[in-house]
Structures are given as structure tokens and as C-alpha cells.
Amino acid sequence: MNVLLDNLALFREGFLGTLWLTVVSALLAVVLGLVIAGFRVSPVPPLRIFGTLWVNVLRNTPLTLLFLVAFFVVPKVLFPGVNSFVLAVCACGFYTSSFVAEAVRSGINTVPMGQAEAARAIGMTFTQTMRIVVLPQATRTVVPPMSSIFIALTKNTAIAGAFDNVDLFNIQKTLSNDGYDIAVIFVWITLGYLIITYAINGLFRLLENRLEVAR
């Protein structure tokens, strides 16, 4: 019996679940990460403190603990009745946002000081300096670490599967209950993850080539 062909619908559901979770939490992570990185270099002390705290706490917490909070504390205390997908997106997105923020911040740090000084000298404000001069240049150095972060995110979404969110890892439970050989199941599931991670890798290669500028 062929595990993949017999359960194509289930595999498709799992694959799309993983893909969807990855994409949505990546978007959340990028938006939040940019905001937090902005906080960390901003002239407003409370925001700077908040940014530093956010990054340090989330980066040093195991993702499994965040999932525990998301799935057992948040629905009980803060928002009753949120579905598991949103919770998984929050856990993955918040966790990854701290890594994105650090990548963006170190990208900002690689922009030569003279660029920001020049922008300031011609009278640009903080937001203008960031938007027009610093961030476009930082993008080039931020893209390579971003691909690592997204690939790591894809792999981390497997943990959501262990917390009853439907994804590639989650469907192994159903399949092994149906009596299929566990080794074969894992080969196909692994292949699903490899497809996504290699696709991200390829996409970012393309992006890097396009952004590459001779200096």
C-alpha cells in the first residue's frame, strides 16, 4: 500500500497547513520585527527599553514554552475561544520577530556612518533618514540572514503540529493510527518540509542576486 497516494488529501491538507502557517507567521514576524528594530534605535527611551526587553525575553525562551503559554494560558485568561491556527501564528510570529529585529538592527549597523551623517546634514528627520537612506541600504545585508530565519521558522512550525494544529507533523498521528509504517510516513513528511525550505532558499538566492550591487 502506498502511504502518499492513499492519503493524498490528508497530505495536501497538512502541507498547505504548514505552508500557510509559515507564510502568515513570517508576515507577522517581519512587520513586528521591523517595528521592534525601529523601537530599538529610536530616540524615545521607553520604546527602546521595550524593544530590548522584547528581543531578550523572546530570544531566550524556548519556543515550546511560548506554545505552552499560547495554547493553555492565552485562551483561558486573555482571549477565550481563539482558534488554534491564530494561536500558533502568534507563538511562531512573536518568537521569530525577535530574530528579525536583531537581523534588521545589525543590518542598520552595517550602513556606513557617513550615510546617516550626510542625511542628517541635509536636514532629514529621523523617519526620513531611516526610510530614504538607511533602510534601503540595510536591506542588502539583511536579506541573507532573513532566509536563515524563515527556514528556521518553517522547521519550528512542526512544534505547532504537536499542539494539535493541523500541519505536516500533525497528520502523522492520524496516519500511524491507520496502521501505516511509521518510517515511510516520516519520509514523506520530511520531503514536504524539504520542499518548503529549499523553495525559500531558492527564492532568497534570486532576491540576493537581484539586490546585489557592485561596490
Partner: protein
């Protein structure tokens, strides 16, 4: 570039504006915190009795045992993964093509597979029966071994060519060159990155929760579920306590990495240690090596 270059020394208008932002920002944050606190209060999570559970000797013993089993897995996985990394790194840099290829494929494959799947597959018995502890240790060893091997390789590649040439000129054999010239310098320059990866290893021991290994997170769940106080389960309290333990452990290691890096910076001998990147997400699928000397921070 320090943050201060990004904005002018504030004049009177900007100072007022920054003050307004500060106040608004603070009020916003305070409102958020207050709202969370209110919800917690509303659900009766602030009752003092809920914290009393941590006064019981039994609970304390539980936490201590869980901490020990987490540290045990971490120590075993740390040592094994470093030993495995040396083997993989030597294979990866071997002069024999087949050996090199096996190492490349192995490293690329296991860095791309989610660690949870490796651990779970080992646990359900793909390669024979395994206790949760050994499944966890073995899974962590394989994954982190692959990552550390790449870190070591970056270190070996950063050793100036003249060193190897000089060693060969002195008549050392290949093994001697690797063991007494390349690796000591690679380990020295990569120590901060290696410790940062150990932080990741420590965080990943929490995956033991999923395969029912009684480590910190698993015992947190047990305590939260088995000791209701007046009908309320102390989930928030246990999460705070166990979260603090994890963050404390990770920060100690991260601080160690920083310390090693700074100590290396001070001494002028040898090659400069790579930056300590603290816990860092590590990719797979043939992306550039993590923490190679001269990555992000030293460009430009």
C-alpha cells in the same frame, strides 16, 4: 554606527515632541500591561494562595529534579554534539571526495529536517527501541552536531593559509596539521559561536515535553494540572517560574559567550574571535554559515 548618529541632538521642539512620544509610549505600554493584569485579576490569578504551591517541599523537589534532568540531557547532548561535530568537520574537509560528499549530504539533510521530527522519529522507534531521554539526546546530537560542524568549518577556513604552509614546511603530517594547528585556532576563534549554539541546544531540550521526557516544561505542565488551588489551576504562576528558570539559564550561557569574546578581543595573539551572536536561528538548505568571522558586523 551608534543609534545616536541617526538623529540630531534634540532641540527645544524635538525635546518636547520626544517627551510627548515618551509619555504616549509609556501610557500605551502601561495600558497594555494594565489590561493583561486586569484580565489576570478578573480570573482570580492574583490570589496569593496560588503562589503557595511553591512553598511545598514536594513541588520544590519536583522542580529541582526536572532542572537536573534538563541539565543532564543538555550536558550529554552538548558533549556528544561537539564530538560529533569534530568528526563531521574532519569528514567535510577531507581530501577524499566520497567522504566529503557523504558529510555534505548528511549535514545538509539533517539541518533541513525539523529537529522535532528527528527526535519524534527516533522516539517512535525508527531505529529500534529508545527511551525518551536517549531519543532526545541523540536527536539533539545529530542536529547540533551538523550545525557545530559548519561553525567549526568556518573557523578552520578562517585560519590564515600561511599557518598550514608553515606547518607542512616543518614536516608535520596531515593529521598533525589538523590536530595541532588548524583545530586549536578554529575552536579559539569560534568559541563564542559554539557557546551561542549551545544556548540553542539548551532551548531545544524543551522539545522533550512533546515526547514525554520529564524535563522542566513537562513538569511545569504536571504541576499546573495537578495542583488546583480552590478550583483555579496555577498555569500562569508555573509558566512565570519555569520561564524565569529557562531565561536565566540561557542568559548565563549568552553572557559566557560575550565574556569569552571580549577576553579574546583583548588579547592580541592569534586570530580575532567571531562575534558572539547569542541565541541565533540557524538555517539549513545550503545557506551561508552562521557566525563566520567577517559576516554581517564587519562588512563596510
Amino acid at each position: 554606527m551608534s543609534a545616536s548618529v541617526l538623529f540630531d541632538a534634540p532641540g527645544p521642539k524635538a525635546r518636547v515632541r520626544n517627551l510627548i512620544y515618551s509619555v504616549v509610549g509609556s501610557i500605551g505600554l502601561a495600558a497594555l500591561i494594565a489590561w493583561v493584569c486586569y484580565r489576570l485579576y478578573d480570573k482570580g490569578q492574583f490570589a496569593g494562595e496560588l503562589w503557595d504551591i511553591f512553598n511545598y517541599a514536594g513541588i520544590r523537589q519536583n522542580i529541582f529534579d526536572a532542572l537536573l534532568s534538563t541539565l543532564k540531557v543538555f550536558a550529554l547532548a552538548g558533549v556528544f554534539s561537539l564530538a560529533f561535530a569534530v568528526v563531521l568537520c574532519v569528514a567535510r574537509l577531507s581530501d577524499h571526495k566520497p567522504v566529503r560528499w557523504v558529510a555534505v549530504v548528511f549535514i545538509d539533510l539533517f539541518r533541513s529536517i525539523p529537529l522535532l521530527i528527528t527526535i519524534f522519529a527516533l522516539w517512535v522507534g525508527i531505529v529500534g527501541d529508545m527511551t525518551p531521554m536517549w531519543a532526545l539526546v541523540l536527536g539533539l546530537t545529530i542536529y547540533n552536531g551538523c550545525v557545530q560542524a559548519e561553525v567549526l568549518r568556518a573557523g578552520v577556513n578562517a585560519v590564515p593559509k600561511g599557518q598550514v604552509e608553515a606547518a607542512y614546511a616543518l614536516g608535520l603530517r596531515k593529521t598533525q596539521v589538523t590536530a595541532s594547528v588548524l583545530f586549536p585556532q578554529a575552536v579559539r576563534s569560534m568559541l563564542p559561536s559554539i557557546i551561542s549554539q549551545l544556548v540553542v541546544t539548551l532551548k531545544d531540550t524543551s522539545l522533550g515535553y512533546i515526547i514525554l521526557y520529564p524535563e522542566l516544561l513537562y513538569s511545569a505542565r504536571l504541576i499546573a494540572n495537578n495542583t488546583p488551588v480552590g478550583g483555579v489551576y496555577p498555569t500562569v504562576q508555573t509558566v512565570i517560574v519555569f520561564g524565569a528558570i529557562y531565561i536565566g539559564l540561557c542568559l548565563i550561557l549568552a553572557w559566557l559567550a560575550k565574556f569569552v569574546e571580549q577576553r579574546g578581543r583583548r588579547s592580541k595573539a592569534g586570530i580575532v574571535p567571531a562575534q558572539a551572536n547569542e541565541p541565533k536561528e540557524v538555517a539549513a538548505a545550503g545557506t551561508p554559515d552562521p557566525g563566520a568571522p567577517g559576516d554581517a558586523a564587519s562588512k563596510d
